[in-house]
């Protein structure tokens, strides 16, 4: 590869380019937060006229430019994607360029370090000791062990070199962060190629085997059937919605294979599809479930208020006479009217989704259950890339912690016999956070001085 300073390769390896891309990405992203996204031409013309106070002619030109540069869907536009692609290329080239050197630092044999280099390190201290070389080495190793420094040892010329290090792998933290960004991009790409996003409304008790794509509205086959058994909304005493929940059933080849209640933060997952509770629709009709308590004969009816319903099998006539607001704003109680078979009428109060048992003059008992009739609004999606994105996110957090808070620290101890004294050199380096390391090094060197009758020179 041409590593000339001006080659395209070095251009892509430079951090200057990174700074440029990051600042440009930050600045460009602002556009889409100010300019409404995904609107039609008329809306933009009006937007420019009202917000910038320009003439309709100027506004038209601006609208044309908006569409020319895809500013109406800027985060999906070719130029925004190019910026992201540039960032990826920058990351990859930069990594190829630097990782080998960093890897060498992680795995290198530090017992082979040049002895002169050790003598020139900024953090260093000399001692003399009355112990023999072997005894000094043994005692220093013993003393360092409880502090987390595991020493290795090698004979170098006429001296003995001890070495210990902490967290060499933390040098890779930055590269884990950089890789995590690529992993997230790959996950997003997988999602945009093989993913699907849409929605569907299912009226209670009914089924669907399709969803409708967002944007295009075209139907997509699920490959199985989904049924909504019921939708239910609960409110706080002040009327604020508290829960939206639906019971969904997955049906394959006529078999009910899975039944699950979903609510807003708790979707149903099946065969790669996820069903999210996102909205609901009221039809201003009511579902009546009526049971003959004796024969267990049961029937369901759907009717608007103030409409009589007849259950001919049981010769029963009933209906909701009136909706009465209940104490919780937004919800209702029902005045249920049941005709008896002698021509009289009886009224019962019943709360939504509750049941009541009614006794007819002939002694027969019927249980009525009344509930407002809803469609559940589901957002349905398939995103095979989401786990890749999550793994990328996890890698990023791990990498950031490694890069920011864990440092590669190294110490060397050179012990040699000179005349009849034992001379000791302690030296250390770190890749980051030098000030904190200096304190740690000083404590360490005091400890080495304290033990074994070693005297600092």
């Amino acid at each position: 590869m041409n590593k000339d300073k001006n080659s395209p390769w070095m251009f892509f390896a430079s951090v200057k380019l990174t700074l440029f891309i990051l600042f440009i990405l930050a600045a460009a992203s602002i556009i889409g937060t100010v300019l409404p996204q995904g609107e039609g031409a008329g809306a933009y013309t009006q937007f420019y006229m009202s917000k910038l106070d320009v003439s309709s002619q100027t506004a038209n030109i601006m609208t044309n430019i908006t569409f020319l540069l895809d500013l109406d869907t800027m985060y999906q536009s070719w130029w925004f994607r190019t910026l992201l692609l540039l960032l990826s290329a920058n990351l990859i080239v930069c990594t190829i360029e630097r990782l080998p050197d960093v890897w060498r630092l992680v795995v290198q044999d530090n017992l082979a370090t040049d002895l002169d280099r050790i003598g020139n390190m900024r953090n260093r201290r000399h001692y003399t000791s009355s112990l023999t070389v072997e005894e000094s080495c043994r005692q220093i190793s013993e003393a360092l062990k409880p502090l987390g420094w595991q020493t290795g040892q090698r004979q170098r010329d006429k001296a003995t070199l001890l070495f210990a290090q902490k967290a060499p792998w933390s040098r890779l933290g930055v590269y884990v962060v950089h890789a995590s960004i690529l992993v997230i991009f790959i996950g997003a790409l997988i999602g945009s190629i093989w993913g699907e996003k849409g929605g569907v409304n299912i009226p209670e008790t009914l089924t669907t085997d399709k969803i409708y794509q967002f944007g295009t509205g075209s139907p997509v086959d699920l490959g199985f059937t989904v049924k909504c058994n019921w939708f239910h909304m609960e409110r706080y005493p002040n009327g604020t919605p508290k829960t939206y929940a639906s019971e969904l059933v997955i049906i394959e080849d006529g078999d009910e294979v899975l039944t699950q209640v979903i609510d807003v933060n708790d979707p149903l997952k099946y065969k790669g599809w996820t069903f999210y509770q996102s909205s609901y629709q009221s039809h201003e009709k009511f579902i009546f479930s009526v049971v003959n308590n004796e024969s267990k004969n049961e029937e369901r009816f759907l009717a608007p208020p103030q409409k009589a319903v007849r259950w001919s099998d049981e010769n029963l006539l009933f209906g909701i006479q009136e909706l009465i607001p209940s104490s919780t704003p937004g919800s209702y109680k029902y005045k249920l009217l049941v005709a008896d078979n002698k021509g009289g009428q009886n009224l019962y109060m019943i709360e939504d989704n509750q049941q009541i048992t009614v006794k007819q003059p002939d002694g027969k008992l019927y249980t009525f259950h009344v509930k407002e009739f809803f469609s559940t609004g589901l957002q349905v999606g398939k995103d095979p890339g989401v786990w890749v994105v999550y793994i990328g996110c996890l890698l990023m957090l791990i990498g950031l912690t490694g890069a920011f808070f864990i440092f590669h620290k190294r110490i060397w101890i050179l012990v040699r016999q000179e005349d009849d004294t034992t001379r000791i050199l302690l030296a250390g380096t770190t890749n980051k956070n030098k000030a904190a390391f200096e304190t740690e090094f000083n404590n360490l060197s005091d400890k080495v001085a304290d033990i074994n009758q070693i005297e600092a020179q």
Binding site: S29, T33, K197, Y276, Q277
Partner: protein, 278 residues
């Protein structure tokens, strides 16, 4: 006493602490510095209790949730995080003049929260907000924002000191420029980690409720803008050796972006976006 009274009191606690630190800085008074530390620590404890109390009160009115779900509660948590972050820095760097530049942010956050512009009542949570990911999201974001706020305050300190001639009497009590620069950098690093976690937990929450982890809405986008910005600043420093005045200005600029993400988006951009409906 209920939690809102206790929280109003904490506004004055932080005001007093800021004043004491400022006195410590201006008059080189050790006593004032000590008063600042004591006031900050006591107010921090009181605020912790108040948050606990507010949590308890929410259960009493049948809307039980952690006190981290609306503008008011997030502002309170923001000031709480600033105080916490600042106390750690004061302990580590042993310099009380830092308080004169950091603690006013805790006070402003509380003053704004109590100002009447912000809705203070405990409200029951709509379904989309009933998620542990929301709690994780708010906590991580605001710890990050607190770190960025402190970085901004300390950056102001840097600029003040770097502009005046050497060793003029008053500014001599401030830490060395090198030390200030280091504190700014460390705060931003810390903030960046938490902001990353905040964006990630936000995305997971989004995905668990709506099935999209990223939808480019203005708030999300602004948090990403802020993230890009700080990423660029970290690279500029780490690989290109930027430091001192430049980094100080960038720390201030970054915090402006944070404030816009947090507050501006709601009040300025939502107006533009609701245009479609009008």
């Amino acid at each position: 006493m209920d939690s809102s009274q206790l929280l109003s009191l904490s506004t004055f606690g932080y005001l007093f602490a800021s004043g004491a630190y400022l006195a410590a800085f201006l008059f080189k008074s050790k006593k004032a510095g000590l008063a600042g530390t004591i006031a900050t620590a006591l107010t921090f404890l009181g605020q912790t209790a108040a948050l606990g109390l507010r949590w308890y009160e929410s259960y009493q009115i049948g809307a039980g949730h952690a006190p981290l779900t609306n503008m008011y509660e997030s502002l309170v948590f923001f000031s709480w995080s600033i105080a916490c972050f600042y106390l750690i820095i004061e302990y580590k760097f042993k310099n009380k003049t830092l308080g004169a530049f950091a603690m006013p942010f805790a006070f402003f956050a509380m003053a704004f929260a109590s100002s009447g512009w912000v809705y203070q009542q405990i409200n029951p949570l709509i379904p989309a907000l009933q998620s542990n990911w929301l709690i994780a999201h708010v906590v991580t974001c605001f710890i990050g924002y607190a770190a960025f706020a402190v970085a901004c305050g300390i950056a102001v300190m840097y600029l003040l000191k770097s502009r005046s001639p050497k060793s003029s009497g008053l500014l001599a009590t401030l830490p060395d420029l090198k030390v200030i620069d280091d504190i700014i950098h460390k705060s931003m690093v810390y903030g960046f980690l938490w902001l990353s976690a905040g964006i990630i937990t936000g995305a997971i929450w989004d995905n668990s409720a709506w099935g999209t982890y990223w939808s480019w809405d203005p708030k999300e986008t602004w948090s990403l803008i802020t993230w890009f910005f700080y990423a660029a600043v970290l690279h500029a420093r780490f690989t290109r050796g930027w430091h001192g005045t430049r980094i100080a200005w960038l720390a201030i600029g970054g915090f402006a972006s944070v404030v816009f993400t947090y507050y501006g988006v709601n009040y300025l951009l939502s107006g533009l976006h609701s245009y479609g409906a009008s």
